[in-house]
Symmetry: C2
Subunit: 330 residues, 2 copies
């Protein structure tokens, strides 16, 4: 098991370092500096690089040539960073990964423009790899951007709605998070000339991985380890976000407990010193186990879809990745 993990980790570290190197070079010497310096600053903030890894792992799984998906892997990371830059404005966040967000470090106009240009730069990189089937790949990429915008729009809409169902929540996180992971796997396979069957299998893996990943995110807000650069525990509750745990608690709670939860909606969040009280309510209602169960369900669905795929090494990478994600602490 350790050998297996070591092998996967080594492959991924190597691929990530290639992606990071490319992302560092991408804006060097480009003008105007007022546009490319903020691009460079933001991309240097790091991150898991999960999305480019999915492109690469997906290509490997269908026996693709990793060199042929390298620019597409860069493209999905640029696209992901566009969403972060604009989300930071919309969420009024001053920090990301322990550093000032773009609209805080520069100004609103710079942040909007940087995000806009990252979309176009993502397409530019995607087109470098697209020798075959380009129309379909660009369309997959484009449709995903639309899903992401719709997802973010629903997320904002939910902030002011009192009657969000878990089904609606799942539709929102599919659009906002899972659709991009699904697309990463899809274009990795498409660019490798994989069959429709294999493209579908890795796409499903990405979709389910994304669903589990987002619910895990919601869960870590409550049970995660707080650290200097990560988020504060209970932040979603403080901000009154309608997470999986919150909506599930609302569904299960009765009488006094329900009133406590409705107060969170009414007051658009709670005070930091109330986090423990609500955490205990979540424990009492069993929604932490419910979330763990959901994450496990989606992870199993993700892994199940890998069974038909040909390449054992590539598959190991994807299995390893799914396990890394459900075991992460932040």
């Amino acid at each position: 098991m350790i050998v297996y993990s070591d092998k996967c980790e080594k492959i991924f570290k190597n691929e990530i370092s290639g992606i990071d190197k490319k992302l560092n070079e991408l804006f060097a010497g480009k003008e105007p500096l007022s546009l490319y310096e903020p691009c460079s600053y933001f991309l240097k903030g790091g991150g898991k690089r999960l999305r480019p890894i999915l492109v690469i792992a997906s290509a490997q799984t269908v026996n693709g040539n990793l060199k042929h998906v390298f620019n597409a892997a860069v493209a999905v990371e640029l696209l992901h960073n566009f969403t972060l830059v604009h989300d930071d404005i919309m969420d009024n966040s001053s920090k990301r990964r322990g550093r000032a967000t773009l609209h805080t470090k520069y100004d609103l106009s710079t942040a909007i423009l940087t995000g806009d240009s990252l979309i176009a730069q993502a397409y530019q990189n995607l087109l470098k790899d697209s020798k075959i089937n380009v129309n379909k790949i660009v369309l997959t990429f484009t449709n995903t951007i639309i899903e992401i915008c719709e997802g973010q729009s629903l997320d904002k809409e939910f902030e002011t709605r009192n009657n969000v169902s878990i089904d609606e929540y799942k539709k929102m996180i599919y659009k906002k998070t899972a659709a991009l992971l699904e697309m990463c796997c899809s274009i990795g396979a498409q660019l490798s000339g994989a069959s429709q069957k294999y493209i579908k299998a890795v796409s499903n893996y990405g979709n389910y991985l994304g669903m589990g990943f987002q619910i895990q995110d919601d869960l870590l807000d409550i049970i995660g380890e707080e650290n200097e650069f990560g988020k504060k525990i209970g932040n979603d509750l403080i901000e009154g976000k309608k997470t999986y745990l919150f909506l599930r608690a609302l569904e299960k709670a009765k009488r006094k407990d329900k009133l406590e939860l409705l107060k969170v909606i009414k007051n658009n969040g709670i005070k930091p010193n109330e986090v423990d009280k609500y955490k205990n309510l979540y424990i009492k209602l069993g929604v932490i186990q419910d979330a763990e169960h959901e994450i496990m369900k989606y992870t199993k669905l993700a892994l199940k879809n890998l069974s038909i795929l040909p390449n054992r090494d590539g598959k190991d990478l994807m299995i390893w990745l799914a396990k890394i994600l459900i075991n992460r602490k932040k």
Copy 2:
């Protein structure tokens, strides 16, 4: 001459009404409403529809089938509207075409997201027409978005710089305005399967038309007719914008006149009751004629590039369009 204009006007009115119809239908019934209602609202604001017309005229000029460029024409209008939505935020404009801008009518998040999704919807429409040569067309489209972001970035940069040269100004308006008109002509011809020579000719036409169009915009700020829905006369001066006229005046002015112009920079603009004073200074320095000369120069260059093109009817349309643009009053 009247017959010639009538014919062109009839063709264009017909094409525009098709585009408008499509733009009206594009968002109907789509969800979430929190995203598509603002898209629909903004697109209904109207506008000259100059960019889709250029796609169509360009296709006609190279004997292309107009049906094959219809979706691309819709795409460039969506792209143009994305730039307007985000520019309105950056310029802090509360009105456009006599109606509330998106961030004013809704909120900042909605305006950012609407703009983002318009980019993706533009690509979606572009891809509908792209049966041939798709990689090149999507790349042309993508490179232009990057030019536009760079142009807008330079425009914002110039607001706080004191030493903008006319060459820098021209580079900025090329990126911010002319590059899109150039691209419209380019993809109209590319989608029609035109030769490189013809693609280059119509692209040059679009580029020069765009340069003339923007300087005309600067000129109309001073000599245009004020109306209920148009801009206020002298608005660029009030906002301290570094237009062609302002930079040319700064280049020509000496002593006391120069000091008056430097005051505009220092104070980030002038008071509304000072517009006439500065208009008279522009007249005295001859920069209104200089601007007219520049507009004429670019228009002639635009028309000159049409000479090698095959289709007389299509060419008539492009000549008519150039003349309409330099004779416009708002």
